[in-house]
């Protein structure tokens, strides 16, 4: 039982990160039909910037703000310099552009930062909390709590603000959104900035547990994308469910079968599910709420 709980805890913690990456995919995909494979780099930028800022003597809360802002600026530049000029290009072209951007950002991170692995001190110490025999790191609660806060904030943004409604309207029908006077280019840029911020926060929160390095984005983007597909591409609730499921699959796969193949096992299960349910577990359905 303790072992089971232990796997649940670690699965939900990484799963929360995958869920946030998948949410980033979803927000951009819904607003612009672009599948942004540079989503994982936002997670990297969040973690790495915080590591280097704190190392330079910046207090953690300010380093966190700098890191989130840096990711948001990169997100905006990605949209303005790479996506917007290619407006009207085919989905495949746009995917290749985002893959190119992700390679570029990784290269840039190697130069600006370095090629080492880095960690951050845990925000509330390293003394594990005993839950039914499972030892859970306090940082796991930061990750899970952060994910919950982000999801609630997103829900409020999309359902309670005019700008949020404009994003939903753009997702639902771009032509009609332009005809009512919504600046859809602004909305799509906003979706990149928002996704970048979400990714960065995930990266900052999880770095004390998983470490970070310039190249963590690739695998995170793949897992986040798989999670989004598993839940149903474009469906925000699906993204959260898919992310948590991928995290749990990995944790239990690594725990009960073999940690060597944990990445492969998660993908095999996802392929199996998509073979039976091509639309994902929850379907591609509505963009109504997040």
């Amino acid at each position: 039982m303790a072992e089971f709980l232990q796997f649940c805890a670690s699965g939900l913690t990484v799963g929360a990160v995958y869920a946030l990456v998948a949410l980033g995919f979803t927000i951009i995909y819904n607003a612009s039909d672009v599948v942004n494979f540079a989503q994982g780099e936002f997670v990297m930028i969040g973690g790495m910037t915080t590591v280097f800022a704190t190392a330079a003597g910046v207090p953690l809360p300010i380093a966190v703000l700098i890191a989130i802002l840096a990711a948001m600026v990169i997100g905006l530049l990605l949209h303005r310099l790479a996506i917007e000029p290619a407006r009207g290009a085919s989905p495949v072209t746009l995917i290749i552009i985002t893959i190119g951007a992700s390679i570029f950002l990784r290269g840039l991170a190697q130069i600006v930062f370095d090629k080492q692995f880095h960690s951050l001190p845990a925000f509330s110490g390293d003394t594990p909390i005993n839950i039914g025999g499972a030892l859970v790191l306090p940082q796991s609660f930061w990750v899970l709590g952060g994910a919950v806060v982000i999801v609630i904030a997103l829900w409020a943004f999309f359902n309670r603000t005019v700008t949020g409604k404009a994003v939903l309207a753009t997702a639902a029908n771009r032509l009609a959104a332009r005809l009512v006077g919504i600046n859809t280019s602004f909305v799509i840029g906003l979706s990149f900035v928002l996704s970048a911020a979400i990714g960065a926060i995930a990266g900052i929160l999880v770095t004390p547990i998983t470490l970070t390095s310039y190249d963590i984005g690739t695998l995170l983007a793949l897992k986040g994308f798989a999670a989004a597909m598993l839940g149903g591409m474009g469906n925000p609730i699906g993204a959260i469910v898919g992310g948590l499921l991928v995290g749990l699959l990995e944790a239990f796969g690594a725990g009960y079968i073999s940690s060597t193949y944990k990445d492969a096992m998660a993908f095999i299960v996802i392929l199996g599910v998509l073979f039976v349910m091509p639309g994902g577990l929850l379907g591609r359905a509505s963009v109504e709420r997040v």
Binding site: L168, A169, N173, G181, E288
Partner: protein, 240 residues
């Protein structure tokens, strides 16, 4: 209300898709307080023209002057702000959003108490929308979606309402209803209407003036009555 002062003036407008030109120099005008109908068969260029007026279709030549301002190169939202609203072909409602959200999004660029006043006005015009205002718009019938699309356009407080085939796919009784509403908007709210239709008879019957468009060019123009009596129009578009 009606006057000879042009609210919308289109001069030698050209537009197309890639290398294929769909409008070959269209000139026409809509005066304040008028209902102007543009009729023509499928593929003639009606939708392209309306989209160009709203700024969601690039133009390659000519000019669009609205309310005294050259808007040929203005962004779509700048045109909405000036008072151009469109009810697009196929309604294009925001299906997953609630009916009230759809209407409020119509007033996206406005602020203040006018929005609630106009919302009441739209609900008075279309009571069925009020009854179901919390429901997703996608659940409405075709006719109701058309009402919603018209209501959404009205929520911007437009000077000019562009309607792209509002009767398409509607049962005859609903078609009559839609055209009655369009007349009412002109007569009671002073909205100027530019109506595009394949249903030439119904459109020309309520129109002050009309134009016929054929393969991207205006071929005939006149008052609604004149066009209804025109031999060529009767033969080609009225089936008589």
């Amino acid at each position: 209300m009606r006057s000879d002062e042009a609210l919308l003036q289109i001069n030698a407008l050209r537009s197309g898709y890639g290398r294929i030109e769909a409008l070959h120099g269209v000139s026409m005008e809509v005066n304040r307080g008028e209902i102007v109908a543009l009729v023509g068969s499928n593929g003639a260029g009606k939708t392209t023209l309306l989209r160009a007026v709203s700024g969601v279709q690039p133009v390659s030549g000519g000019a669009i002057v609205f309310d005294g301002h050259d808007v040929t190169n203005a962004q779509p939202h700048a045109r909405v702000k000036r008072g151009i609203a469109q009810v697009p072909e196929g309604r294009q409602i925001f299906s997953p959003l609630s009916i009230e959200d759809n209407l409020r999004l119509g007033a996206y660029l406005r602020k203040g108490s006018e929005i609630d006043r106009d919302l009441d006005m739209v609900y008075d015009l279309f009571p069925v929308l009020k009854e179901r205002r919390r429901n997703p718009a996608g659940g409405l019938s075709g006719g109701q979606q058309q009402m919603l699309a018209i209501g959404r356009a009205l929520m911007s407080g437009p000077k000019l309402l562009l309607l792209d085939e509002p009767s398409m796919g509607l049962a005859p009784i609903l078609v009559d209803q839609v055209f009655q509403i369009v007349e009412k908007l002109r007569d009671e709210s002073g909205v100027t209407v530019f109506l595009v239709e394949q249903n030439a008879f119904a459109a020309l019957s309520i129109a002050d003036r009309g134009y016929v468009i054929e393969t991207g060019e205006i071929s005939i123009s006149g008052t609604g009555r004149e066009l209804l009596d025109d031999e060529r129009v009767r033969e080609a578009y009225l089936g008589v």
